[in-house]
């Protein structure tokens, strides 16, 4: 009944409502403006694209030189029996675009190898390239090309019950990381003038019972901290003992009835409950400090991205007006309070945030001018958002695959350390590398044929040893894992591919929207146990 109602624009808002609540209209716009490239439309590849088509990615292109086989149709929802023998990329593209008319689909009936050879420029037009079913050699060529051109690459692989994903991106900066449990930015340890003034305008000793019970707990904390500091050489409570004493001090402020029994004052309970977190000294999180110290932040050039210019401005702010603190976030949690004083308190924080933002904006404009850019080339909206998210900034720098695969640049000691734990998912990584080696030697996967499984276990074991020895390590992996790998024989189970299809699509969305934090850089998942691990390789 609701289909016909409203304009297409409104309908789009309704259609995407459940995700707009996560990444907002600007995130959606970024997604709709993007173009992704998928190499090989196997079960894994189409599952990734499915999860990008549904939320409305702008466009996708499938690169696939293969024809549809019976095995393909068996585990791929976006191929049909009638597609047998057709171009796999085309068949998959048609069934994928059928899901969402907002998405533009395309395909190229050539292998990635061919394109790398004849038209490498092709890959440079995408927001990100997703690689599946590639041989090591092709992968390394692709990695080189994309790395040089600063195009993100996501490598995905689904092997039996195991899953591997590797993000290759030179630099990815995130302003809106949307942390799950963000701490509040309340500044009770270093109250700002507006807060002091507002708190001083309230007198707990001369207010009605009603007002007393509805005084926001931030004010209670401020006032009792002042009292504490006056008795403790201006120091705030630091250790457990002092904090306990401070909580008792707070409790002593609760009103009492005629018989001297303390009343129930929820705002005091809230103050006590919030004491520990409120007494954590305001500081710059180490991840943000690292961003400030990064050479991209300290040595701005006309090529610097807006992120670095903004980071530089905030850094200047922390060194001057901020006196070591980031711009105030300007929001407070909900708390027991009357509407009027709560809103006033909210405005006290907002006003200070606005002031801090104005200072940062000044630095931004100065910097832009000194870099020879128009002083308004970064929209004020963006500066504001940056300030609000200043403590959640994230920087992700991945290494290239060529570094990872080069034996003198490989993270050998990390790998060795992880392999000391026989249950570490690192063993899966080693096995996948060994399988690639197996494939380049025998041009097939271990366990491809039933009658050679036993022999393949030995061959794969020796590939594992080679891989490990080339790193100069003496570790081993469990023999059961080698056997299990040979059991799989490169089988791609639909549900395991679909698991990674969801994960990979989400990483693509993170890269495109620049929201949330992408994985850095290797993700391994074991569908037998449900265990996963992330390694920086």
């Amino acid at each position: 009944m609701s289909t016909q109602r409203g304009s297409p624009v409104v309908d789009k808002e309704k259609k995407y409502d459940r995700q707009l609540r996560l990444w907002g209209d600007h995130g959606q716009a970024a997604l709709e403006g993007s173009a992704v490239c998928l190499i090989n439309a196997g079960a894994l590849g189409t599952e990734i694209l499915k999860n990008l088509c549904l939320p409305g990615v702008g466009a996708f292109t499938i690169v696939d030189g293969k024809k549809v086989t019976g095995e393909d149709v068996g585990n791929n929802f976006f191929l049909e029996k009638s597609s047998l023998g057709m171009s796999r990329g085309q068949a998959a593209m048609e069934l994928l675009t059928e899901m969402n008319s907002d998405v533009k689909g395309d395909f190229i009936e050539e292998s990635a190898d061919q394109i790398l050879e004849t038209n490498p420029q092709f890959f440079k037009t995408f927001s990100i390239v997703i690689a599946t079913e590639l041989q090591e050699r092709t992968l390394l060529d692709l990695d080189k090309l994309l790395w040089e051109n600063n195009i993100p690459l996501l490598v995905c692989r689904s092997y039996g019950m195991l899953v591997y994903m590797r993000l290759v991106i030179q630099e990815h900066t995130v302003i809106e990381s949307h942390p799950d449990n963000a701490f509040e930015d309340l500044r009770l340890d270093r109250p700002f003038p507006g807060l002091i003034k507002f708190a001083n305008s309230l007198d707990l000793d001369h207010m009605s019972k009603q007002e007393h019970m509805h005084t926001p707990y931030l004010i209670l904390l401020y006032k009792f901290l002042e009292k504490w500091k006056s008795e403790h050489q201006s120091q705030i409570p630091k250790n457990y003992k002092e904090k306990t004493a401070f909580k008792n001090l707070l409790r002593s402020g609760v009103l009492k009835n005629e018989e001297g029994v303390p009343l129930l004052e929820e705002n005091f309970d809230e103050a006590v409950a919030a004491t520990n977190s409120a007494l954590v000294p305001t500081s710059i999180p180490s991840s943000v400090q690292e961003i400030f110290n990064d050479s991209c932040c300290t040595n701005l050039t006309s090529q610097s991205s807006n992120f670095w210019i903004l980071a530089h401005a905030v850094k200047q702010f922390t060194e001057n007006e901020g006196a070591g603190a980031l711009p105030l976030r300007g929001s407070i949690p909900d708390m027991t309070a009357d509407s009027e004083r709560y809103i006033r308190l909210q405005n006290v924080y907002l006003d200070q945030a606005q002031q801090d933002y104005a200072s940062v904006l000044g630095y931004v404009q100065q910097t832009l001018t000194s870099l020879g850019k128009p002083s308004d080339s970064i929209p004020e909206q963006d500066v504001k958002m940056f300030c609000r998210n200043a403590s959640f900034l994230k920087l992700v720098r991945c290494r290239s695959l060529s570094d990872e695969y080069c034996s003198d640049k490989a993270k050998v000691s990390d790998i060795g350390m992880h392999l000391e734990n026989p249950d570490s998912e690192m063993a899966v990584y080693v096995l996948l590398r060994a399988i690639d080696r197996f494939h380049s030697q025998y041009n097939r996967f271990p366990g491809d044929y039933d009658n050679e499984r036993e022999a393949d276990v030995h061959k794969l074991t020796s590939c594992v040893s080679n891989v490990i020895h080339e790193w100069g390590l003496h570790s081993t992996v469990k023999e059961e894992l080698v056997q299990e790998m040979c059991r799989y024989g490169a089988a791609e189970l639909h549900s395991v591919a679909a698991f990674l299809g969801g994960c990979a699509a989400q990483e693509v969305i993170k890269v495109i929207t620049k929201q949330f934090v992408p994985v850095n850089n290797t993700f391994i998942y074991n569908a037998v146990t449900g265990a996963s691990a992330t390694f920086q390789l």
């Binding site: 019972k209 009603q210 019970m213």
Partner: protein
């Protein structure tokens, strides 16, 4: 560990058993819990429950007749609706008697923390009943639902007492007419 494949092969022969397990579904978790709650009701002497259908323990009324305080000799009826989400979700409780009370509005909404924000599955029907009874002994003007009543209670206890009495006897308090709810 369960080997479903083997079990199922066996079970296939017996054609899904049809064993003695009754064809009735077991009483729901909510039903089990409310049976427990109701069979252990331990009411204060000023409270009683009314079950229009003794087979339906999920819907009932609570009558409170305070024997002290402002509301002495009044008779107040509350409806309880226990949903299938009980005890994960609190029961829905409404006051069915119009009452001049700071924490109960004229539509019968009740402001009692354990009915909403502070509900926990360990609480029982008994806890709610005690909470409601307490509201009549100690109306709380600091977090009111009926603001006018709360303001009167705060500023003039004597007037509040008179208003409560007027309302219980039946008649106007300000512009609001209250039905008589004094104990017969």
């Amino acid at each position: 560990m369960l080997n479903l494949y083997q079990l199922r092969q066996q079970k296939k022969d017996g054609e899904s058993g049809g064993k003695s397990a009754g064809s009735q579904k077991r009483a729901s978790a909510a039903q089990l819990r409310i049976t427990k709650d109701i069979s252990e009701l331990n009411l204060p002497k000023t409270c009683k429950t009314e079950f229009p259908d003794e087979d339906d323990l999920l819907n009932f009324k609570l009558i409170i007749q305070p024997d002290e305080g402002y509301y002495k000799n009044g008779r107040f009826s509350f409806s309880f609706k226990v949903g299938p989400g009980y005890p994960h979700d609190a029961p829905k409780v409404k006051c069915e008697t119009q009452v001049y009370h700071p924490n109960i509005d004229l539509e019968g909404n009740v402001c009692l923390n354990i009915l909403r924000e502070d509900w926990k599955p360990v609480l029982t029907i008994n806890s709610i009943i005690y909470g409601l009874q307490f509201l009549f002994l100690e109306p709380n003007p600091e977090d009111p639902l009926n603001k006018e009543a709360a303001e009167v209670l705060q500023s003039n206890k004597r007037l509040f007492e008179q208003n409560v009495y007027k309302s219980m006897r039946g008649g106007y308090v300000g512009n609001t007419y209250f039905e008589r709810c004094l104990k017969a």
